[in-house]
């Protein structure tokens, strides 16, 4: 089992490094702007945009490359002929993608906090202002962000078993993610966050679970029950699972919002 984790980490370890490098490059680009010298950036909400964009992209890529890179290189066939269960492969891939995405999330947050504290002209007061305005580090915000990131990861994971080119699966996952967010906004899926006092935080967790269930279950079923080689069966299993889980999610949501 440990060797499976080791293999998976070795396969994807460049991605988190690339994500951090991208973030630092973006930050340095911003640092060259005037408002950095005045310290204005420390209370500017848009300063967070590149960071959030990096997270969203990285979580999508971490999911979407999990299978497609191995399908493309053919190494999934290698895994298919040695006695490793597909369930185990799927869970190991999900765990490694999730924890490396969390690591990038944590490292970038730590990086930003350090900047606030140690950037020339910063002070503890600035850091306090940061926590109050730019960095509304409350549970609701954390749930909202982590929910969005999980939707990106699951969207990538859903697309990944269907494509043999990581760039294609990432593009499809990104498009799927945008449609997904648009759909959830359209139907005001987030209102369960707000309207049910008793469910304020629990509601956020439930909504996240309902949103990530269809893509994750689809990915699991497609990989575990579909053939490892390219075949039409993957699409049949994937389509049926996605429709089925979406219906179940919608029914659960409808029942909850009527509580």
């Amino acid at each position: 089992m440990m060797l499976l984790f080791w293999k998976e980490w070795r396969e994807m370890r460049l991605l988190p490094v690339l994500a951090l490098a991208t973030y630092i490059a973006l930050f340095l680009a911003e640092a060259s702007c005037d408002r950095f010298s005045t310290g204005e950036w420390q209370s500017s909400p848009e300063f967070m945009n590149p960071l959030i964009a990096t997270w969203l992209i990285f979580w999508t890529v971490a999911g979407s490359t999990a299978f497609s890179s191995e399908i493309g290189s053919g190494s999934l066939q290698f895994m298919s002929v040695i006695p490793v269960s597909r369930r185990r492969i799927w869970w190991v891939k999900l765990s490694v993608a999730f924890f490396s995405a969390v690591a990038v999330f944590a490292v970038t947050i730590a990086f930003v906090q350090m900047l606030y504290l140690y950037w020339p002209g910063s002070s503890i007061a600035h850091a306090g202002r940061l926590n109050n305005s730019v960095w509304p580090m409350n549970l609701y915000w954390a749930l909202l962000v982590s929910g969005s990131l999980l939707v990106c990861l699951s969207s990538g994971f859903c697309a990944s078993p269907f494509f043999d080119q990581p760039i294609v699966s990432t593009a499809v996952a990104a498009i799927g993610g945008v449609i997904y967010f648009a759909f959830s906004t359209l139907y005001n899926i987030g209102r369960i966050y707000h309207y049910h006092g008793n469910f304020y935080y629990l509601g956020a967790l439930i909504v996240t679970a309902l949103l990530i269930m269809p893509p994750l279950v689809t990915s699991y079923q497609t990989f575990v029950r579909g053939e490892s080689l390219k075949s039409i069966k993957r699409y049949k299993v994937g389509a049926l699972t996605f429709i089925g889980t979406s219906v179940v999610s919608t029914i659960i949501y409808a029942l909850l919002t009527k509580v």
């Binding site: 290189s73 290698f78 006695p83 053939e227």
Partner: protein
């Protein structure tokens, strides 16, 4: 149309003793469809336990699809497969612990070294003989510290051989494993395979269209053509049934023999024929010579005849 080429019950009589043990592989009416393309169209296959079975067929005849179905990588559209008494789709994990697979090209992790690959694969098997692994690595002169991406085609095939053998499989599947190798690498690989598999008591299923290498190794042969089973027989029986006759009379009658192929040799005719082995004891005087054939020549004659018929 293909039925007459299948072995009848009398022909199989000699083989019944071999079939007292349950067959290692039993395939019944296997069909596999990819969209509109039917890769396998009702294939039947019976691989006796302990036999070395050559599965022959032209390119795109369906050999690899059949191999992948036997391995559980592809789900049959219809029909059934039993491998070592297991269903490959349902019991894939248990089955893969008991068999070794050597395909034409095994895509491994390019960034791993040979030692890392061996360690990674060994960890996935409940039983893995380090002694066999070390012995093979030494015999095949595999450089343990070298990365997979730097290995030659032949070295990759030899590594695949180690990976397929070190867990002491009951059944070994070799799927076109020497295709694309140069002559020296192929000879090296063939020699290693023959050393390992001959007299090992393991069941071996070879799929290949390079038949010369199988002739000295196999005791059973099956031919598939256009997704169908054309023939299954013991190699010795087949060789006693299919021969080339040199005939000096164009009108010569050869009762009980089916002419598969016709060639001229000066004024004489060379007829490749198939029939019961006893028929060759009563040949007309116009037959001046009876020539035994190699497996490759038999394959060419049978498949060529089938293509002419269809």
């Amino acid at each position: 149309m293909t039925k007459e080429l299948l072995p009848n019950s009398a022909e199989c009589e000699d083989s019944k003793a071999e079939l007292v043990l349950p067959p290692a592989i039993k395939v019944d009416g296997l069909t596999k469809q990819f969209g509109r393309t039917r890769a396998l169209n009702g294939v039947d296959l019976l691989v006796p336990t302990g036999s070395i079975y050559a599965l022959l067929g032209r390119n795109a005849a369906g050999k690899s699809t059949l191999m992948q179905s036997v391995l559980g990588l592809l789900e049959p559209t219809s029909g059934s497969i039993s491998v070592l008494g297991l269903n490959p789709m349902r019991d894939g994990l248990a089955l893969r612990r008991r068999l070794g697979y050597i395909p034409e090209h095994m895509p491994m992790y390019e960034w791993m070294t040979i030692a890392e690959t061996l360690r990674f694969v060994a960890a996935q098997y409940p039983v893995w003989s380090k002694a066999i692994q070390d012995d093979l690595v030494q015999r095949l002169r595999l450089p343990l510290s070298q990365k997979i991406r730097t290995l030659s085609r032949g070295q990759r095939a030899l590594l695949t051989l180690v990976l397929a053998m070190a867990h002491e499989p009951e059944l070994v599947l070799l799927d076109e494993c020497t295709s694309g190798m140069d002559a020296l690498a192929r000879e090296d690989f063939d020699r290693s395979v023959i050393q390992l598999l001959q007299n090992s008591g393991r069941t071996v299923l070879f799929a290949s269209h390079q038949i010369h290498e199988l002739d000295r190794l196999c005791d059973w042969v099956g031919i598939i053509h256009q997704g169908r089973t054309l023939l299954q027989a013991r190699v010795d029986d087949l060789k006693s049934q299919v021969k080339t006759l040199q005939v000096n009379d164009e009108q010569a009658e050869l009762p009980g023999l089916t002419v598969l192929k016709r060639q001229t040799l000066g004024r004489d005719l060379l007829l490749t024929v198939r029939g019961d082995s006893s028929r060759y004891d009563w040949l007309p005087q116009s037959v001046v010579d009876v020539i035994d054939l190699r497996l490759e020549q038999i394959f060419v004659a049978i498949v060529g005849h089938e293509e002419e018929r269809s």
